[in-house]
């Protein structure tokens, strides 16, 4: 793969303080490369959104980032830790370098302002020298880009359909031409046809504009189709990470396998709907050892006691993938 653009190192996020804290993201390390679509999948409650918003410190109280780094590599500049930025620098960083399309984009637009206002205020904040006229033109251009007629500029959010609002949000995310776009379940509220249409458009835009995407969903089948690499989250940890095709063909972690089996594949041979027995872990009372072991059909001796480390599996010679599972213990890195 090419250059990294965003490197998450040992990120830890808690909700709450002290002994009441819930560890929602544990020791996550993940690298996003320039121009790639990285898929992030896992059942709801596994910490995907928390990870995504934690990156740019957008978690509401009682969220706290208890450790780790988020290294951003600007194009042709020195890398820096986003978590160490001052508030002012962080504000400049936000949206200009990483934009987010939020889960539940239905409520992402301010109901009392026209969408033109909401599109241009980003420009006003980040490029104060730009003229009023240019801002308007740019906003119109973005709407056109995502397939909305520019004469809807003066519409209020309540006058737009759900799909249109979602497109507006995508257009807004791209307006400053960021390097990274994070999409948190951007299409779950939409019907299937609309989902595919929007995603198709997005991928096309990415090829044209060249940004990288972190794409979050609980629908693994979507990822297999649209992303380059996939990371699977369970109980706040990444349990497996590999190129999309590799995961699809042969997932190493029983959880990934279960997740894949839970959704009917869209193309290719039909798979059985197996599902995963049991329910996602309660973050407050996490099982010891591998947190998946109570639900795992293949659990054996070490699973309940020792946490497996995420790393390239020693027993297989497949480059570019890692897994945290005792079935495929990681290479000893000494």
């Amino acid at each position: 793969m090419s250059q990294p653009v965003l490197e998450i190192r040992n990120l830890n996020v808690d909700y709450g303080l002290g002994d009441k804290a819930v560890h929602a993201v544990r020791d996550v390390s993940l690298t996003l490369h320039r121009g790639e679509v990285l898929g992030l999948a896992g059942e709801s409650g596994s910490g995907k959104s928390t990870l995504a918003y934690g990156l740019t410190r957008l978690l509401p109280p009682p969220g706290v980032i208890t450790g780790g780094q988020v290294i951003y590599h600007p194009e042709g500049g020195q890398p820096y830790d986003v978590l160490a930025l001052t508030d002012r620098k962080l504000r400049q960083f936000r949206w200009a370098e990483t934009a987010i399309v939020f889960q539940g984009a239905m409520n992402s637009l301010n109901p009392v302002h026209k969408i033109s206002t909401q599109l241009t205020d980003v420009l006003r904040a980040h490029e104060p020298k730009m003229s009023e006229h240019t801002r308007g033109a740019r906003a119109r251009e973005m709407l056109k880009l995502v397939g909305i007629s520019p004469d809807r500029m003066d519409a209020y959010p309540h006058q737009l359909s759900g799909g249109m609002r979602q497109r507006v949000m995508i257009g807004m995310a791209l307006i400053l031409q960021p390097q990274v776009v994070i999409m948190d379940e951007p299409t779950t509220a939409l019907d299937v046809v609309m989902q595919r249409q929007i995603l198709g458009q997005l991928i096309e835009l990415r090829e044209r504009l060249g940004f990288s995407v972190i794409f979050i969903t609980h629908d693994l089948s979507l990822l297999v189709e649209f992303s380059n690499r996939i990371a699977i989250m369970y109980g706040g940890r990444i349990v497996e990470e590999a190129p999309a095709a590799t995961i699809y063909r042969d997932a190493l972690h029983p959880y990934s396998a279960g997740l894949l089996a839970s959704f009917p594949a869209l193309r290719g041979p039909k798979r059985e709907l197996a599902g995963i027995p049991g329910s996602p872990p309660d973050l407050a009372g996490m099982p010891s050892g591998c947190s998946f072991h109570p639900r795992c059909p293949k659990a054996f001796d070490p699973c309940p006691t020792t946490i497996p480390v995420l790393g390239p599996p020693a027993d297989l010679n497949s480059a570019g993938r890692s897994v945290a599972c005792w079935l495929h213990p990681a290479l000893e890195i000494s």
């Binding site: 504000r91 936000r94 939020f102 984009a105 301010n110 109901p111 009392v112 026209k114 980003v122 209020y156």
Partner: protein, 326 residues
């Protein structure tokens, strides 16, 4: 527009209800006190005036209730609210038209200032939780639990007096004649400061608290997180995203609580002998001047309805969602 027409229809209905209520209340009054008052002034009353009082109080036992009701409406439309006993022989409408401007000025302006000030402080308290503005809450809660009039008494006790800048009673210097001139206006303003301050202190906390609560509620909406994610300035997020949305329910709250606020402010006028409707009402109570009491009730109700309508217009301008229909 449909929304607006609905509101107007509602206010017309309420006005009708209030006037009808006003028609029935005096019919509960035992006839004797009114009759004796009329008897007392008989020599001085014209037969027209007596007739008008008869209509107001339903002493015309020969007529059917329905006929009485129709006569009553006819009279109201002519602006005839009867004669005041207290200020005999002035018609009630004249007494009220003298008192009304004072109340509108004092209560109206003070209420608006209080709303704006409270809303502003509420924005601060709600946005920066744990800052100094939060410390205001216990103090303001205490003040809002005090009856307006008692705070007025205390204000007079502490601040007014023969040598003080603040006069303790009246609406202007007794040596002056009401007029729009350079003597009268400053004096009127000087006299209104202390009552205004009293109303302000007791009413502002309600607005602070409700705006703070709305800010806190709105601050966890998705679009606020989006605004932060967009890298907008703190000020823009707080004002244009959070406060702007939190304001909407506060404006409707404002309209709904006007009826409550007016009640309290009338009493402040009484304490300060301020020549508005409240003070006039007190005089009417003392003299059992039913025509005047009823007239005042009617005028207050209509004023509150008008103020409500204005608040509705403000809401209409603030919330695009209500504008959409029509």
């Amino acid at each position: 527009m449909r929304y607006f027409l609905q509101r107007i229809a509602f206010y017309l209905f309420t006005a009708w209800a209030a006037i009808t209520l006003n028609f029935f209340i005096p019919r509960l009054v035992p006839g004797d006190p009114v009759q004796s008052l009329i008897a007392k002034y008989r020599g001085q009353l014209s037969s027209d005036a007596i007739q008008s009082l008869y209509v107001l109080f339903g002493l015309d036992k020969q007529e059917s209730l329905w006929q009485q009701y129709l006569d009553y409406w006819k009279q109201i439309f002519q602006g005839d609210l009867g004669l005041s006993f207290t200020f005999f022989p002035a018609p009630v409408s004249q007494v009220i038209s003298q008192a009304l401007p004072w109340t509108v000025m004092l209560v109206g302006i003070t209420t608006i200032i209080s709303f704006m000030l409270g809303t502003g402080l509420g924005v601060l308290a709600g946005w920066r939780r744990g800052s100094w503005a939060d410390g205001l809450l216990p103090v303001t809660t205490f003040f809002s639990s005090v009856p307006y009039f008692w705070l007025g008494i205390i204000a007079i006790y502490l601040l007014a007096g023969p040598d003080s800048f603040f006069p303790s009673s009246g609406g202007f210097d007794s040596g002056l004649v009401p007029a729009w001139d350079q003597y009268f206006i400053p004096s009127a303003i000087q006299h209104s400061l202390l009552p205004a301050l009293t109303i302000l202190i007791s009413s502002v906390s309600g607005w602070i608290l409700s705006m703070r609560n709305m800010m806190v509620t709105v601050a966890s909406e998705d679009y606020i997180t989006v605004a932060h994610a967009k890298g907008l300035s703190e000020r823009r997020v707080a004002v244009s995203y959070a406060a702007r949305n939190a304001l909407l329910p506060n404006v409707s709250g404002f309209a709904l609580s006007l009826g409550f606020i007016v009640g309290g402010t009338l009493l402040v006028e009484i304490v300060f002998s301020y020549p508005g409707l409240g003070f006039t009402l007190l005089q009417a109570l003392g003299a059992k001047d039913y025509p005047l009491m009823q007239g005042i009730f009617l005028v207050i109700t209509i004023s509150v309805l008008v103020a409500n309508l204005l608040a509705d217009v403000a809401y209409l301008l603030l919330d695009p969602r209500t504008r959409k229909e029509g």
